[in-house]
C-alpha cells in the first residue's frame, strides 16, 4: 500500500512539473537571449515565446524574436508570444498579438531592431506624435523585413 502511495505521489509530482504552456518570468541579468546570446538586461524591450510544448524562449529584442521565428520556421499560430510593455518595464508583459508597436531609431534597442511595444493606442500616442511614424500591429511585424 505504501509503495502504491509513493508511486502515486511521484506521479503527482511529475504531473505538476509537466509542460504547461505558460509565461515564464525573465531573470534579468542572468537569462541569455536565445537568438543573439546576449544577457537580457533592458526590461523595456524583452520578449518571450512559449511553444506548444511549453518551452519558453526568451529574447532581448523584439527583432531577435522575429528573426528566430523566421529562421526556425516556428509555427507562430500555436506559440504564445509575449512582449514587454515599453511604458511599464517592470515585468509587465503583453500578449504580442494584442499589442501595438512603434518602430524608430530613437529607441536604441539592444540589437538595433528598434521596436517598442505598447498596450493600447493611447499609450503609444505620445510617442507616435513625437516620432511621426506609423503604428504597427503584430501581423505587420511578422511580414516586415528585419534590418539586423
Amino acid at each position: 500500500m505504501k509503495q502504491v502511495l509513493l508511486i502515486l505521489f511521484v506521479c503527482g509530482l511529475l504531473g505538476l512539473s509537466s509542460c504547461q504552456q505558460q509565461f515564464e518570468p525573465v531573470d534579468y541579468g542572468h537569462d541569455a537571449c536565445t537568438h543573439c546570446k546576449m544577457t537580457i538586461m533592458d526590461k523595456r524591450f524583452a520578449a518571450e515565446m512559449v511553444t506548444e510544448k511549453g518551452k519558453a524562449y526568451k529574447f532581448d529584442d523584439i527583432a531577435c524574436l522575429l528573426k528566430y521565428m523566421k529562421e526556425k520556421h516556428v509555427n507562430s499560430a500555436k506559440a504564445m508570444i509575449f512582449v514587454n510593455d515599453y511604458n511599464k518595464p517592470d515585468n509587465s508583459f503583453l500578449d504580442a498579438r494584442q499589442a501595438v508597436y512603434l518602430h524608430s531609431e530613437v529607441f536604441k534597442t539592444p540589437m538595433n531592431g528598434n521596436f517598442a511595444a505598447f498596450s493600447t493606442d493611447r499609450e503609444a500616442a505620445p510617442f507616435k506624435d513625437r516620432l511621426q511614424n506609423n503604428q504597427l500591429k503584430w501581423q505587420d511585424l511578422e511580414t516586415k523585413p528585419i534590418n539586423q
Binding site: 534579468y28 541579468g29 542572468h30 537569462d31 541569455a32 543573439c36 546570446k37 546576449m38 544577457t39 538586461m41 526590461k43 536604441k108 540589437m111 538595433n112
Partner: protein
C-alpha cells in the same frame, strides 16, 4: 635667415594675440554655468576644490576645464552634468558623481555630442548611470579615467563608456567597474582601445556591436557578468588582452558572433566558463593564445568557417574544444594540448599522431547539458577510452595533425 626671422616674429605675435585667460571658479550657485558663459573660446576654467551642485552644463566653446584637487560636481541623482557640443574641449581632474536616471534620455556624467577632438582625462566618475557618453563624435580621447558605480540596481544601470556612431576614438588607461557594460561600442569604427581594466560589470566588460576595424589591446577583463562580447563586426584586432574569471551560466571569456576577418592574438584566457565561444564567424585567426583552467577552452559552433587555430597553448581545461555539429570548416594546427598522449619518434617536437581535441563527453554534454552530472565518473572514462580506440561520436574532421610536444613560450 630672413624667412626664419619673419616666422619667429609671426609666432611671437601669434602667441600674444591668442593668449588665453585662466578663469578661476569657486563653488557657488551656478558658478560653472556663469564662468562657461563669460569665457571666450580657448580659455581655461580652473575649478577650485569643493562641491558644485550644478547640472546640464553645456560647453559650446573650445574650453579647457581643469580641476584642482578633484572638485566634486554632483548631479544629485536627478540630473546630468556636462554636455559637450564643441570641438577640442578638454576636461581633466574632476570628480563627477550621482548622475540621475532618465527613461527616454540616457543621462551621463560627461556627454559628448556631435564634436571632434575632445579629450577627457584623469577624471573620477562615480555612481553615474552612464559615465562617459559619446554620440556622433570623431577623434576623441578618453584617457586614464576612473569610472565606478556601486549601483545595486545594475540591470537598469548604464554603461561606463558608451559610444554610438563614432570614429577614430582612443580609449586608453581607464578603469571601469560596476556598470552594465564596461565599454560599449555601437557603430564605432577605426578606434583604439588599450590598457583599460574593466571588472565587476553586470554584463560585459567590453561590448562591440556593428563596429568595424577596431583594435583592442593590453586590456584586462575580469569577473564581468558575461565576459566580453564582440558581435556583428568586421576587421577587429584583439591582442595582448587578459580575460580572467568570467564565470557563470551564460558567461564567456570572449563571445564572438558574426565576426569576419578578425585576429585574436597573444591573449590569455584564464578561469572562464568558456574561453572563446564562436558563432557564425568567418576567417578569424586565433594565434598564440593561452587557454588555461577554463571549463571549455574554445567552443566553435558549426556555423563558423575559415578560421584557424595555430600555436595556442591549451592547459588544464575541462574540455579543450567542443562543437555542435559534425562539419568542421576550421583548422587546428601546431597547438600544444596538455591532454595529448601521443608520441614523437622522429624527435621533431611534433607529435606523430593527430590529436582530437573534442572529447566524447564534450559532444554528449553539448547535446544533453544535464549529462554533465556524470562527468568524471567511471562511465565517462570508459567512453573516452573506447572512443579513442574506435572514434564514432567525435567529429573526426576536427583534429590537430601537428600537435606540439612542448608548451609554447608565450
Amino acid at each position: 635667415m630672413k624667412p626664419v626671422l619673419l616666422l619667429h616674429i609671426f609666432l611671437l605675435y601669434a602667441v600674444t594675440w591668442s593668449f588665453a585667460t585662466i578663469i578661476k571658479v569657486h563653488p557657488a550657485v551656478n558658478s560653472i554655468h556663469h564662468a562657461a558663459n563669460i569665457a571666450h573660446s580657448g580659455d581655461t576654467l580652473l575649478l577650485q576644490k569643493g562641491i558644485y551642485k550644478e547640472h546640464d552644463i553645456v560647453i559650446s566653446k573650445k574650453l579647457t576645464i581643469t580641476g584642482e584637487g578633484f572638485p566634486i560636481i554632483d548631479g544629485e541623482n536627478k540630473y546630468q552634468v556636462f554636455i559637450i557640443a564643441s570641438d577640442s574641449v578638454i576636461i581633466q581632474g574632476l570628480q563627477i558623481q550621482h548622475i540621475g536616471k532618465g527613461s527616454i534620455t540616457d543621462m551621463a556624467g560627461i556627454k559628448i555630442v556631435n564634436a571632434k577632438c575632445v579629450t577627457i582625462r584623469n577624471n573620477r566618475l562615480i555612481n553615474n548611470t552612464f559615465g562617459i557618453y559619446l554620440q556622433n563624435t570623431t577623434r576623441c580621447n578618453i584617457v586614464n579615467n576612473m569610472i565606478h558605480s556601486d549601483a545595486k540596481d545594475e540591470i537598469n544601470g548604464g554603461n561606463g563608456i558608451h559610444a554610438w556612431k563614432c570614429t577614430h576614438l582612443s580609449i586608453t588607461g581607464n578603469s571601469i567597474s560596476g556598470h552594465r557594460d564596461g565599454i560599449y561600442f555601437e557603430f564605432v569604427t577605426d578606434s583604439y582601445i588599450a590598457a583599460n581594466t574593466s571588472f565587476d560589470n553586470a554584463r560585459y566588460g567590453l561590448h562591440f556591436m556593428f563596429s568595424h576595424n577596431d583594435t583592442y589591446t593590453q586590456n584586462t577583463f575580469k569577473s564581468n557578468g558575461a565576459g566580453v562580447a564582440v558581435m556583428y563586426s568586421k576587421g577587429v584586432i584583439m591582442c595582448d588582452n587578459e580575460f580572467v574569471h568570467n564565470w557563470g551560466d551564460a558567461s564567456y571569456g570572449l563571445l564572438l558572433k558574426e565576426i569576419t576577418d578578425s585576429k585574436i592574438e597573444h591573449n590569455r584566457f584564464t578561469k572562464n566558463t568558456v574561453g572563446i565561444h564562436m558563432e557564425g564567424t568567418t576567417r578569424v585567426d586565433v594565434r598564440r593564445n593561452i587557454f588555461q583552467d577554463n571549463g571549455w577552452g574554445v567552443r566553435v559552433q558549426a556555423s563558423c568557417s575559415g578560421s584557424s587555430f595555430v600555436e595556442n597553448n591549451f592547459i588544464g581545461n575541462s574540455f579543450d574544444v567542443t562543437t555542435n555539429g559534425t562539419m568542421m570548416l576550421n583548422t587546428f594546427n601546431n597547438n600544444y594540448w596538455d591532454k595529448y598522449d601521443g608520441y614523437d619518434l622522429d624527435k621533431n617536437s611534433i607529435g606523430d599522431v593527430s590529436y582530437y581535441p573534442v572529447s566524447v563527453y564534450a559532444v554528449i554534454t553539448e547535446k544533453i547539458p544535464p549529462a554533465m552530472i556524470l562527468y568524471r565518473s567511471f562511465l565517462s572514462d570508459i567512453m573516452d577510452q573506447v572512443e579513442k580506440v574506435m572514434p564514432t561520436i567525435i567529429p573526426d574532421m576536427l583534429k590537430d595533425d601537428h600537435p606540439l610536444m612542448k608548451k609554447l613560450k608565450l
